[in-house]
């Protein structure tokens, strides 16, 4: 018996040694992720990190809460529109965008649920993801064209992201070149990467212009756009045109816009050919996101906030029904020509608004392609914008004939027999102080054409214009901002505060010295 015991002992000890598995048993890896080294090794698999960034441009993820008002590019466009005077919020609804509309977000910089963190985190996430791709530039295998396709887009994404940061976290470029803007990173982030101090507006724009130029150079020698979200040569030119417009570099704005038009092969469409603005295959769309069933944001989506679906017999309505987006009646009644075919983008009957005749006119421009499945493509850049950009640049360069040609390219498809005899570049200190100049006319058409697509406040800022909301425009009392300096384009109302999390992790930034003013001026 003792023997049995002995043998069993030895046997069991043997077992225990066997189960003391190889150390490799302790090497585990996730099944929903993989390492970056593999992905960035060749130009084909490097499309994966690139596509990831694009997906995040129409998905909710950046803030830790309030994600229904943060779903990438279009969510910030709505924000920038409701901050101006042309897109009226009829009511607070569920509260989304209402605090943007009331300029009541800057004090919330300690929270990671609000705009400060949301936008800062969003653009810098795109930048860091782009930097990883750019760091693999030299080692990436593949044909030059294929590598250019990846690297060019990464440069363009970085340029776009810094451009958006500069527009939101500092006052506009012209006149504020030496103001503090945002930190610059061009190397991939690793554990322990030190936070950088705020660079000046000038320095940030230098990086932006050089990045977008590099992107254009690379994309000139690259395959055609493989997917509508991808930044191809025409879109890169389009971004360059936006940047140049903001920097008031009229020559560059003009050529970039023209280059974009030419490279895109897009044509201006009559209003009836792209109703609903929910189809990226339309011939005027340069850049956008096709939305498919399992990638909708449902409530957290562009059309959910815009479309009131009044015409549908459904019980549950999207946010656009309770927080209606309406056009400034002054713009619609007094500035838009009576024969303008774009009038159908809004409904002046005011039938559904609880405020009745006091309300603005309900938007019908942006419609779900299928509300039951939340479908509707997102449009990020249309060729019409390029014509209007070129027209404004030419007007500023004094070439009014060229300006009118480009303006007519759009307006001939909008208003039967449109012409204008306006001339000059004068603009009022606020948008309601009218000058009757040609530039004002171009801007007016831009306000109508790009309503809901460009972000009105970004235009107002580069134009150094203030604005006033009034009840006659259709604004609700709660959002008039009578006591706020919206008429002063130099104030800090529209300059976002930097999130607390930045100061927590950045030795080179000090909350008391480097924060933007939390109030309208200080």
């Amino acid at each position: 018996m003792k023997k049995i015991l002995k043998y069993t002992f030895v046997g069991l000890m043997g077992c225990s040694v066997l189960t003391s598995c190889l150390d490799s048993a302790l090497d585990t890896a996730p099944t929903d992720s993989m390492s970056g080294t593999t992905l960035l090794s060749n130009a084909n698999s490097a499309l994966i990190p690139l596509n990831g960034i694009y997906r995040s441009m129409y998905t909710s993820w950046s803030p830790t809460d309030n994600t229904h008002q943060s779903f990438g590019i279009n969510s910030y466009t709505i924000m920038a529109d409701v901050m101006g005077e042309d897109m009226i919020m009829d009511d607070m609804g569920s509260g989304w965008y209402w605090y943007d509309c009331l300029y009541n977000v800057k004090s919330r910089y300690t929270s990671s649920a609000w705009r400060s963190y949301d936008m800062w985190n969003c653009y810098y996430t795109w930048i860091s993801n782009a930097n990883y791709i750019l760091a693999a530039q030299e080692t990436m295998s593949g044909t030059t064209e294929d590598v250019n396709y990846v690297i060019g887009q990464a440069y363009a994404i970085r340029a776009y992201s810094y451009f958006m940061l500069a527009q939101n976290f500092a006052r506009t470029y012209k006149g504020h070149e030496e103001d503090p803007c945002c930190p610059i990173y061009t190397e991939p982030t690793v554990a322990g990467t030190a936070g950088q101090p705020r660079s000046t507006v000038q320095k940030v724009y230098e990086l932006i212009t050089s990045d977008i130029q590099t992107a254009i150079n690379k994309l000139t020698d690259a395959p055609a756009q493989k997917y509508k979200t991808h930044i191809d040569l025409s879109v890169a030119y389009g971004i360059q045109a936006r940047i140049a417009l903001t920097m008031e570099d009229w020559n560059l704005a003009k050529t970039a816009a023209h280059n974009a038009i030419e490279a895109s092969g897009c044509t201006v469409l009559p209003v009836s050919d792209f109703l609903g603005l929910n189809d990226v295959t339309a011939a005027n769309v340069m850049w956008g996101a096709p939305i498919q069933n399992d990638q909708t944001g449902m409530y957290a989506s562009f059309f959910s906030h815009m479309d009131a679906v009044d015409e549908l017999d459904v019980s549950q309505k999207p946010y656009g029904n309770s927080a209606r987006k309406q056009i400034n009646k002054d713009l619609y009644d007094n500035i838009m020509l009576p024969t303008d075919t774009r009038k159908q983008w809004w409904d002046p009957t005011n039938e559904e608004s609880e405020r009745g005749a006091d309300a603005g006119y309900q938007q019908e421009k942006f419609k779900f392609s299928d509300y039951s499945t939340w479908l509707g493509d997102y449009i990020w850049m249309r060729v019409e914008e390029m014509y209007l950009t070129a027209a404004e640049a030419e007007c500023m360069l004094g070439d009014e004939t060229a300006a009118k040609n480009d303006l007519y390219a759009v307006m001939s498809k909008r208003v039967d027999g449109y012409t204008t005899s306006k001339t000059g570049t004068a603009l009022g200190a606020t948008s309601s102080q009218r000058t009757g100049s040609l530039r004002e006319e171009i801007i007016d058409q831009r306000r109508i054409e790009l309503w809901g697509e460009y972000g009105r406040i970004w235009d107002l800022r580069r134009l150094h214009q203030g604005f006033r909301r009034t009840a006659t425009q259709g604004w609700p009392d709660a959002a008039l901002l009578n006591n706020r300096p919206t008429d002063d384009s130099e104030c800090y109302m529209w300059v976002l505060t930097i999130p607390q999390s930045e100061f927590d992790g950045n030795v080179n930034m000090d909350l008391s010295k480097d924060q933007n003013p939390t109030g309208d001026y200080k």
Binding site: F9, L12, M13, C15, T19, S20, D27, P30, D32, S33, M34, G36, L39, I48, P49, N51, G52, Y54, R55, G93, W98, N104, S107, Y117, N121, T125, I127, N129, P183, Y185, V190, A191, A289, Q292, N293, D294, Q295, M298, V314, S315, Q316, K317, S322, E354, S372, W374, D477, A478, L480, N482, N483, P499, Q500, S501, E502, D504, G505, V507, N508, M509
Partner: protein
């Protein structure tokens, strides 16, 4: 008296020992058992009958008040849901604070709701390093060991136990204003808006407010006061709601969706018995508990078989098997989403009816003459679009079905018998434990109303499979030589965990079929697998001399798959001693001291349970830099960088000192147990802060230090002890002091919303503006504000109404951590009648009650106000502490919402009666006991409605209210 077995021999000397002498009680500890008297560490044992006496469904809810050093949350009232537990403070910031659960000697990965509380023989809470170091990398937050019942030698005992009970809300609702008051406050909010935002004159503002009541409150259809229209309801001369306004309805939404007598019943059959060699226990259990919220329910079917057998003198085997199936029906919504009734129904405007009304205020009946639920389709204002809380609870469906199988088996070779010569006392054991769980979950959003009506309904199905096993081999040697006793143990263990997740969703479904196949549109399809493994070597050395001096040392070396291979092995250890002073010669004459011992231990434990940034999900791949592939762009695969590589990330270490005194006095009438502990967490797993502009807020690194320390005492006294009467009282108290010692050089403070984690302060210190009352002239909220000099010192304090300034002038305002908490319990028996009462208390600490704030600083016109809003400022000159009414106003978060967290709760009262023995003999039964109990009877807090135990950081949420349960039952043994 305890039963004692004595061998027959000449001149037997039988010493009768009283029950109160629990010193030689054997308790379950890490990898074995220990006599309480010899134990050098800190552990509390909770016996099964303490658990059984309470009508709890999830065993975690039985822990409150039963042990010192254990803080618990109330847990949700959803039947089956668990409470959270922390042992001796808050062990970590970014890693889990949860203790390790061990069932029958093996770490448990099933669901805690799958354990039938009636199967539990005892629970042991291991609190210090001496007790827990053998759990190495997983022991730092303490260990809860659950031991199930085993058979006892003798004739088969059959036990049948049934209880039936009725539940209602344990925490009362907040006091909200009534319909007229609501209209009055809404009117004032509108008027104040016109005066202070739009600069109207007072008179113009009043007129404008009267005229805009209608649009904000929902037109005349939603006006319950049919004798006045909205623009007439306010008397312009007084500015008050007209006194003679008559409401046609008053339909509280919460009343319509809560059951006050939710039924709960539970039945348990247990067979146990055995011979000297083989013992067995079988149990079957069934539980069915309705929640107080319509549509919520929990059912559990459980079976267990525990068998152990001594095959020969040197060969023992055991096998415990349990199978549980449970089904939980719940409501899938949380937070401030409309469909979460704890938000919407609880704080909705009192004007909104439950049922559709006509213009006269009468119910609009359907063709069968029944009132119809109001979904607001006729123009209910605000965002509660196409929503009715009752309809929503009935139409939407969510369930989770858990199937849990657990196996604990092992055998031991070797013997303590002298026959084995040099092998005497040497034993080799191998144990294998496995937990297997599949969860089948469904979330359905209905196709008739609400979010998914346009999509034709939306159905999510989840299937997860978890399998974990532990296999260990343990060698022990147990010998005594004279007065010297040794117990030495060495072992090896391998633990593997695998979790597989699968989910899919479709919309546009067929009515009545809750399956994916007929659905037309895929909205989600996802799956992944997680793996986690630990390999360990461990050992323990116990020595005792003359039952007077005890020494204990243990060591464990763990390798965890979470860390890089160069940093995955860690060593954890402890040493402890126990001196029984009462055994010393000089104590022999001190008759009133029955036992007195002091003990001391120190050791290091670990914590590898790092969480992802959501603070809930476990991160199994802490050190790796990864692209998350969950970002497909249309039909193109897409990925985003989700983490930064840090090969050096490793364990969190926990140095733990425990000093204790145990005394039993006056013939065991009084026992005192007091302990002091000091736990220092070092190499704390922190997200090392990085500038958000780098694209990351941090990376995982071992950088911080934190300390938890405190005193714990337990006093147990027998007040009366006669042949008929026995009355004892137990008082437990614990303190916990928490101090963050070190964060990172870059950032000595981590601010997260209202919380600050700052060096030198307790974790999660409230950091917010300080209210300075209300401006009598304008009714504005005033705040304290300050300026700072270049060194960051406060220079100039002043009062302002500027909320931006207030947001920049935050103060540190205490934390949730209580000064003292514990329980007072008593047991009284008189003849066959027994009564036990358990109360718990907590003193000190604060709670930020966001629910209260949400009903005082209303965001929407369809939110109701707390009654305290009636103290509001009304006109210039008013002196009050509640500012003027506003809806959607802007305020700095301030200390008005910090409520004293102290509470006193009557947790349980149980009255039982054991039928007289004489009757039993006649009925051929061994015993019958009938009992009645009430659980969560009363709660006294500083704010009616507030749950002081919602979580450990001191906030509240719109969540399922805990239950109060009255129950009755009987237990028959034969």
């Amino acid at each position: 008296m305890q039963t004692q077995e004595v061998k027959i021999q000449p001149r037997v000397k039988v010493v009768l020992r009283s029950d109160a002498e629990q010193l030689d009680e054997v308790m379950v500890v890490a990898y074995g058992t220990a006599k309480k008297s010899s134990f050098t560490g800190s552990a509390a044992t909770i016996s099964g009958d303490k658990i059984e006496s309470r009508p709890i469904t999830n065993v975690t809810k039985a822990l409150e008040g039963q042990s010192t050093g254990v803080l618990t949350t109330s847990g949700s009232g959803q039947p089956g849901e668990a409470a959270s537990i922390v042992i001796r403070g808050y062990g970590s910031i970014n890693a889990s604070q949860d203790p390790l659960y061990v069932v029958d000697g093996i770490p448990y990965n099933g669901t805690l709701s799958s354990i039938n509380p009636s199967d539990i023989e005892s629970m042991t809470v291991l609190k210090d390093a001496s007790a827990g170091a053998l759990y190495g990398a997983r022991g730092a937050n303490g260990v809860v060991m659950i031991t199930t019942k085993q058979g006892k030698e003798g004739k088969t005992n059959v036990s049948w136990r049934s209880t039936a009970g009725w539940s209602s809300r344990a925490i009362p609702e907040y006091d909200m204003v009534n319909q007229k008051e609501f209209v009055q406050l809404t009117y004032e909010a509108l008027r104040n808006g016109y005066v202070f935002t739009n600069s109207y004159s007072w008179a113009d503002a009043e007129a404008a407010a009267r005229n805009s009541l209608s649009t904000n409150l929902g037109g005349e259809l939603y006006n319950p006061f049919k004798n006045y229209t909205w623009n007439q309801i306010i008397d312009p001369t007084t500015g008050q709601v007209r006194a003679d306004a008559q409401a046609a309805w008053n339909e509280n939404w919460m009343d319509a969706i809560l059951h006050n007598n939710a039924f709960r019943h539970e039945h348990q059959l247990q067979l146990s018995g055995g011979t000297e060699k083989t013992k067995y226990m079988f149990s079957l259990g069934y539980l069915n508990e309705d929640g107080i919220l319509t549509g919520t329910n929990f059912q559990r079917y459980s079976g267990r078989a525990n068998i152990n057998s001594e095959v020969t003198e040197w060969f023992k085997g055991n096998m415990n098997v349990s199978l549980t199936h449970s089904l939980m029906n719940y409501s899938q919504y949380d937070g401030s989403s409309t469909s979460n009734v704890w938000y919407s129904a609880q704080f909705i405007s009192p004007l909104f009816p439950m049922y559709v009304k006509d213009m006269e205020g009468n119910n609009v009946l359907d063709e069968n003459g029944n009132p119809q639920l109001d979904y607001g389709e006729q123009g209910r204002p605000g965002s509660y679009n196409d929503y009715n809380p009752l309809g929503n609870l009935v139409d939407d469906k969510s369930y989770v079905k858990n199937d849990v199988a657990s196996l604990r088996t092992g055998f031991t070779l070797g013997s303590d018998s002298d026959n084995f010569g040099v092998f005497k006392g040497l034993k080799l054991a191998a144990n294998f434990g496995m937990d297997y769980r599949t969860a089948n979950q469904m979330n359905y959003m209905n196709m008739y109303h609400g979010n998914q009506a346009a999509a034709g309904g939306l159905l999510y199905k989840y299937n997860t499979r978890m399998q974990s096993y532990t296999f260990n081999q343990i060698l022990t040697w147990d010998r005594s030589f004279g007065l010297h006793s040794f117990n030495v143990m060495a072992g090896h263990e391998f633990y593997a965990y695998q979790y597989e997740y699968l989910n899919a969703a479709k919309s546009n479904l067929v009515d009545g079929i809750l399956e994916l196949r007929p659905g037309t549109t895929i909205t989600s399809a996802d799956s992944y697998t997680d793996k986690y493994r630990i390999e360990s070597w461990f050992g323990r050395f116990n020595y005792s001399f003359d039952e007077k001096y005890y020494f204990d040392a243990s060591i464990r070396r763990d390798g965890s798959s979470r860390f890089h291979k160069n940093h995955r092995w860690g060593t954890f250890w402890s040493v402890g001693g126990n001196w029984r002073i009462s055994k010393e010669a000089f104590m022999e004459d001190v008759k009133w001291v029955d036992n007195l011992s002091v003990k001391l231990s120190y050791g290091q434990q670990g914590n590898d349970n790092i969480l992802k940034s959501d603070g809930v999900t476990t991160n199994y791949y802490v050190w790796q830099s990864l692209y998350d592939l969950g970002w497909p762009n249309g039909n193109n695969i897409g990925g985003m960088v989700s983490s930064l590589e840090n090969q050096e990330v490793s364990w969190e270490k926990n140095g733990n000192i425990n000093v204790g005194v145990e005394a039993s006095l006056f013939n065991h009438r009084l026992s005192i147990n007091a302990e002091y502990y000091n736990k220092k967490t070092t190499d704390m797993l922190l997200s090392y802060p990085m500038a958000t502009s780098t694209g990351f807020n941090g990376y995982n690194a071992n950088v911080g230090d934190m300390r938890n320390s405190g005193f714990e005492f337990e006093v147990r006294g027998t007040v009366i002890k006669t042949s008929d009467w026995n009355w004892d009282i137990t008082w437990m108290g614990s303190t916990v002091k928490n101090k963050v010692l070190k964060l990172t050089n870059e950032s000595p403070e981590i601010i997260n919303g209202i919380y600050s984690i700052k060096e030198g302060m307790p974790i999660n210190t409230f950091y917010m503006a300080k209210s300075a009352g209300v401006d009598p002239a304008t009714g504005a909220q005033l705040y304290w504000a300050y300026d700072k000099d270049d060194n960051g010192n406060i220079t100039n304090e002043y009062i302002t109404s500027d909320y931006n300034k207030a947001n920049e002038s935050k103060y540190y305002l205490g934390s949730r951590i209580p000064d003292l908490y514990g329980s007072i319990g008593t047991n009284l028996t008189w003849k066959n009648l027994d009564l036990s009462v358990l109360t718990t208390y907590s003193l000190g600490g604060k709670i930020y009650d966001g629910l209260y704030r949400g009903s005082m600083e209303n965001m929407y016109y369809n939110n109701n106000w707390n009654e305290h809003a009636l103290r509001r400022w009304q006109k210039p000159g008013d002196i009050t502490d509640v500012p003027r009414m506003e809806v959607g106003g802007t305020y700095a978060t301030n200390d008005r919402w910090l409520i004293d967290a102290s509470y006193f709760a009557i947790k349980n009262i149980t009255l039982g009666y054991t039928l007289p023995k004489a009757w039993m003999v006649k009925a051929k039964l061994s015993s019958i006991r009938i009992f009645a109990s009430v659980d969560n009877l009363a709660l006294f807090t500083h704010l009616k409605g507030m749950d002081p135990q919602y979580n450990f950081s001191g906030s509240t949420d719109y969540s399922y209210s805990p239950n109060k349960t009255w129950s009755f039952g009987f237990e028959v043994n034969f």
